[in-house]
Every structure is written in C-alpha cells, then in structure tokens.
C-alpha cells in the first residue's frame, strides 16, 4: 500500500470522524454568536444519539430517528435557555448540569428499556443511514489521483455527511445574509443594542439555541445510527468539548469551523492509523500523544500563538436591564 492510498484511507476516516464535530461546532457557533456559552453541547449530542437510536430501533426508520434526535436535543436547548435566558442563571453551570443529566438519563432509561446496561438494541439496516455510492464512483475508481479520491473519500458516505458539509455554507448564509443572522451576531455583541432596536433579546436567543439544538440533533443521530448501529454509553466521548475547541480555533466563523473540525477529525484518524506503528527514526509513538493532541493544540492556540481569538463580547453573561 503506497502513501497515496494510506492518505486516501486516512482522509476518508478523517471525514467520517469529523462529521459529528462539524454539526456540533456549528451548533455552538449559533449559540455562542448569540451570546450563550454552551458547554452543554456534549450532553445534547449524547441525548440525541440516544433518542434517535431508540426511535430508529422501534420504528425501523432512520428519518424518524433523526427527527426524534433533533427534538430531544432541542428540548435540552430549551432547558438551557430557560435556565440561562429566562432565569438568568450561570450559563456554564447550566451546561455542566445538562451534561450530567444527559450522561445519566441515557443510561438509566436505556437500561430500563433495553436491559442491556444502557446500550440500546441493534438498529436494523432500515433504521440506519448507510453509505450512498455517488454516480460513477465505481467507474472513476481507476482514474489516477482523483479516482480514488472520488470513489473512497467523496462517494460512499451517508446522507448526513453531505448534509453536514452543506450546513457550512447554509450557516454562513444565515449568519451573514439574513435578518436573523444579523440579529444573532448583534445580540452576542451588545444585547442592549438589539433590545433598543425593538427586538426581543430573549426570544432571539431562544431561537439561536433552538438552531443549536437542531444541529446537535444531527450530530447525535450521526453517532448512533449512521456511524454505528446502536447507542452506546457515553458515546459522545468528549466531542462536545472538542467542538468548542474547534469553535475557538475558528474564531467563531463557519468556514474556519469546518476546517478546524476536519483537522481534529484528521488527528483522530491519524491516531488510529498510527497506533502500534513505528515512525521512521522515532520508533513507536505512544497512542496517548495522538489522543491528547487536539487538546494540547487547543491550549497552545488559546495561548494566543495564532492570534487572539475574540469571543462574542456579551457571551457568558445573562442580559439584565435592571441591576
């Protein structure tokens, strides 16, 4: 197997691993742009992964799974909104709380419903999003360079993967080309300006959170019924936090968000690939280094070595008029 094939293989893996990050980071993009910190992304993915696996298991319909996943994730968003918008609670505390609730509830309910220690039942093929072979993929396979790229990387993914990448320009367009986007960006910087412009800050922020919930629903669904065929305990495994890191990396902009997620996905895929292999001249690199790499990288970047990332100014603070 030559280097190009290896590269193609890792690239395909990177894309598959970056999709949940991408959905989640875009979700974070909307809520943080609206001035709501969302540590609870992790919990939202987990809850929606569980819900969509349950629905897909029972109905045997992947789209029903997706819808349920999205609905669940939005419910979590609304609770976050109720705490941090309506009741002006601490956004970080609220997010941490929701992560706990999601982590516990999925297992408690899963164990009660499926009796498999928190895992859901194996979702049948009809309940899953499986790979789509794009037209001409087989024909193209033998064309040098672009052939394998098209056949092994671009083609053969499930529909959610394509939706994820479609979400990037859509998010950009919403944020920068629509009224809603303008207002979301404004409310994250100066909610007072939005309020005095006659726009309800609370409702605007709720809507941003709903969008975030919507996108997280895709992420969770991808994990449980596209990438796998069941919900597994704690299957989000820190992806919500990585997505936050990607967001910081990307300075809260849609296209860089995609690149950051791809980078993290690539690191993950590379770690998988490198496991147990020796690097020429260095020897076997402990797999733990690769596992920690995204986090280390985030800290290095946060230290400002790649320019300071300026978060939305009003982020993290509840909006209060009366002191």
């Amino acid at each position: 197997m030559d280097y190009f094939d290896i590269f193609i293989s890792i690239l395909g893996s990177a894309i598959r691993l970056s999709i949940p990050l991408l959905f989640t980071a875009l979700a974070g993009l909307f809520s943080e742009r609206a001035g709501i910190f969302d540590i609870g992304l992790e919990g939202k993915i987990l809850a929606s992964a569980f819900a969509s696996a349950c629905a897909a298991y029972w109905t045997g319909n992947a789209w029903a799974g997706l819808a349920t996943g999205i609905a669940t994730s939005i419910v979590f968003s609304l609770v976050h909104g109720f705490a941090s918008i309506t009741n002006r609670g601490n956004q970080i505390v609220s997010g941490v709380a929701l992560n706990f609730v999601a982590a516990g509830l999925t297992i408690v309910l899963g164990a009660a419903w499926f009796g498999q220690g928190g895992r859901t039942g194996q979702v049948p093929a009809s309940g899953r999003f499986s790979g789509i072979t794009l037209p001409g993929a087989e024909m193209m396979r033998d064309v040098p360079i672009i052939g394998p790229l098209y056949a092994n990387v671009i083609s053969g993914n499930n529909i959610l993967t394509y939706i994820a990448f479609l979400m990037v320009p859509i998010s950009w367009w919403i944020l920068y080309r629509t009224r809603f986007g303008l207002r979301v960006r404004a409310v994250g910087e100066n909610p007072g300006a939005v309020d005095t412009a006659g726009i309800s800050v609370a409702w605007l922020r709720y809507r941003a959170l709903i969008v975030a919930g919507f996108l997280c629903g895709f992420a969770g669904t991808y994990l449980s019924i596209a990438q796998s065929a069941a919900f597994i305990n704690n299957m989000s495994a820190g992806k919500g936090y990585i997505a936050l890191a990607a967001l910081i990396f990307a300075k809260w902009k849609p296209v860089p968000v995609m690149l950051a997620c791809l980078l993290f996905g690539f690191l993950d895929a590379f770690a998988n690939f490198m496991q147990g292999k020796a690097l020429p001249g260095i020897g076997e690199v402990p797999v733990q280094i690769f596992q920690a790499l995204p986090y280390i990288l985030t800290c290095v970047l946060l230290a400002g070595f790649i320019g300071v990332a300026r978060p939305p100014k009003a982020g993290g603070a509840p909006y209060t008029k009366e002191r």
């Binding site: 293989s9 498999q116 194996q122 092994n152 796998s228 305990n233 495994a237 998988n272 147990g276």
Partner: protein, 310 residues
C-alpha cells in the same frame, strides 16, 4: 449444598453479544436446568466491581463468579475477607484456596479461526482488531497470525488495538473506523477480539461486504453471510460448572486451563456460516484441531514470554 449463585460481569456489560453474554448464557443454563435463580451485576468501573463482589459475598451469595481479569485485585481482597464463600475468576489467576481461576487457551482457538481466515482471504491480507491492549488480547492475535500463516505463509496480518483502558471494550465506533482502515489497506477478513467493540467491527465488515470473525460467543448469527466464523470461548462452562460444583459439593480451587482438547475454545460452524466454509476449509480446521490435540502443532502462548515469534 445450598447454592446461591452470583455473577459479576466485565465492564463491557451483560449484552455485549460476546464475552459477558457467554457468561450470562452459562448462568441461564444452570437456572433452566436446576430452577435456581441467580443474581448478576454489571459494573461500570473498577470501584463498582469490587463493591459488587463484596456485596454479593456479604449477602451470602455462593459461589460468586467474576468474569474479567479486571476484578483480580478486587477478588484477592474480598476472597480473603470471606474465606467460606467460593469464588471464580475468569481470565486471571487469584491464588487463594477458595478461588477457582479459569483460564482459556485462546491461542489455540485463534489458531483455528486463523486457518479459516487464511483460506477465505482472496487478497492475502487479513486483519485483527483487539480491545484493550493487554497481553491477554495479544495472545489472541498471536495465535491467529500463526493459524493464518500455517495455510498462507506469505499472508499479511494487520493488527490494531482499540485502546488501553477498559473503555476499549465498549467503543464500536473506533472499532468500525479501525476496520475500515484495514479494509482500505486490503484486508478482507477481520477478526475482532474486543468485546462490544467487536460489534462495530462486524457491522463495518458487513457494510463493506467483507468477512469478519466473531469472538467469545458464537456471533455467526449477527450478520449471516458476513461472519466467517467465531472463536467461541466457553465462558458459559466456567460459570455453569462453578454453580454445579457448589451444588454438588465438588467445588475445588486452583487453576483450570481449557483448550481445544477440553472443548474450551473452538471455531463455530453452524447454519449461518455454512455457505462460507468450503469442504477444504472444513477439512483444514479439523486437521488443525487434531494436530493441536495430538501435540504435533504447538501454538505459542503470548503471555508466557510476552512476545510473538511470528
């Protein structure tokens, strides 16, 4: 004597369709045959394991079977506290008079499935995906390689481990990714020895129309036509025998080591994979089995020297 059976699973969970599920099957069989109810517990982490073993012992359960090497230290401790209770540990050794340690010669079973894999592979490339990176799992891999090479000396075997902690038993997503990775490198038969992680391996192999090999339980039925065979490890026997022995007052401590000869490990062939097994393959497996029992083929046990000569 009075038997009040208890069972503590490994962290993969009761329904991993593999190792733990095999243990559960043994307890179920005992229940079906004797009508005796049993209690089981699925610990999520190490502290819970110890607490569960102790809880069972303190409530008068006897024997207490714990089916993972992860409970070695816990059992050492608890078995000392309850010298009158009988304990069984699987895949590990606890040297106490009231503890029976059940070990399997996984290298022998893995050798058998390796023979099948080597013959079934068209590319001459096969894969192995282990769970947690520990000598026990390396032992599976080593026997497998030996089996593959026995029938196809120029075959290439890719080996990957899922992780280094208990979480590695329960990570089908990574299992699937590693499988895809090996398939991309040309592997067309992939052997999973990774508990619930293996579900992802089998799934991905089926999705990509490749062959896979299950482990511990007979997993042939999971994806009929895609699972080439399963390396069955009769954990159910360890559980069943323990309960029965206590019931019949025949319980003995010490080490039991079960191999091909004792029918402790085997390559499963049934309705679901019959179409995949050619008569030549069947013959080769049968011969390998006979050779192992006869001692003409010696399969290397990785744990004896922590290395694999292949």
């Amino acid at each position: 004597a009075e038997v009040k059976p208890a069972l503590v699973y490994g962290t993969g969970g009761k329904f991993d369709k593999s190792f733990n599920e095999a243990a559960a099957a043994g307890a179920e069989r005992f229940k079906a045959e004797t009508g005796t109810e049993y209690r089981d517990f699925e610990p999520k982490d190490d502290t819970q394991g110890e607490q569960a073993i102790r809880n069972f012992a303190s409530r008068g359960y006897n024997p207490v079977v714990a089916v993972s090497f992860a409970w070695t230290s816990a059992m050492e401790k608890v078995a000392k506290e309850y010298p009158d209770t009988k304990f069984v540990i699987v895949d590990s050794v606890v040297d106490l008079p009231n503890v029976r340690s059940v070990l399997y010669k996984e290298e022998e079973g893995s050798y058998l499935v390796g023979v099948l894999a080597g013959m079934a592979s068209k590319t001459g490339k096969v894969g192995f995906i282990g769970g947690m990176d520990i000598p026990l799992i390396r032992k599976f891999g080593c026997g497998y390689v030996q089996g593959v090479k026995a029938v196809k000396s120029d075959a290439q075997v890719f080996q990957n481990m899922t992780g280094t902690t208990g979480a590695a038993w329960n990570d089908p997503v990574r299992g699937g990714e590693l499988t895809k990775n090996q398939i991309d490198q040309g592997a067309d038969v992939i052997y999973a020895a990774a508990g619930a992680t293996g579900l992802g391996v089998l799934q991905t192999a089926a999705d990509n129309k490749k062959l896979s090999i299950g482990v511990d339980s007979n997993q042939n039925h999971l994806h009929p036509g895609s699972v080439l065979t399963s390396m069955v490890k009769r954990v159910d026997l360890a559980v069943y025998n323990a309960y029965l022995d206590v019931k019949d007052d025949k319980f003995t401590g010490g080490i039991q080591s079960l191999g091909v000869k004792e029918d402790g490990v085997s390559a499963a062939i049934d309705e679901n994979n019959k179409s995949l097994i050619t008569p030549e393959m069947q013959a080769a497996v049968d011969k390998a089995k006979a050779d192992i029992i006869a001692g003409t083929v010696k399969v290397h046990d990785y744990t004896t020297d922590n290395s694999c000569p292949m």
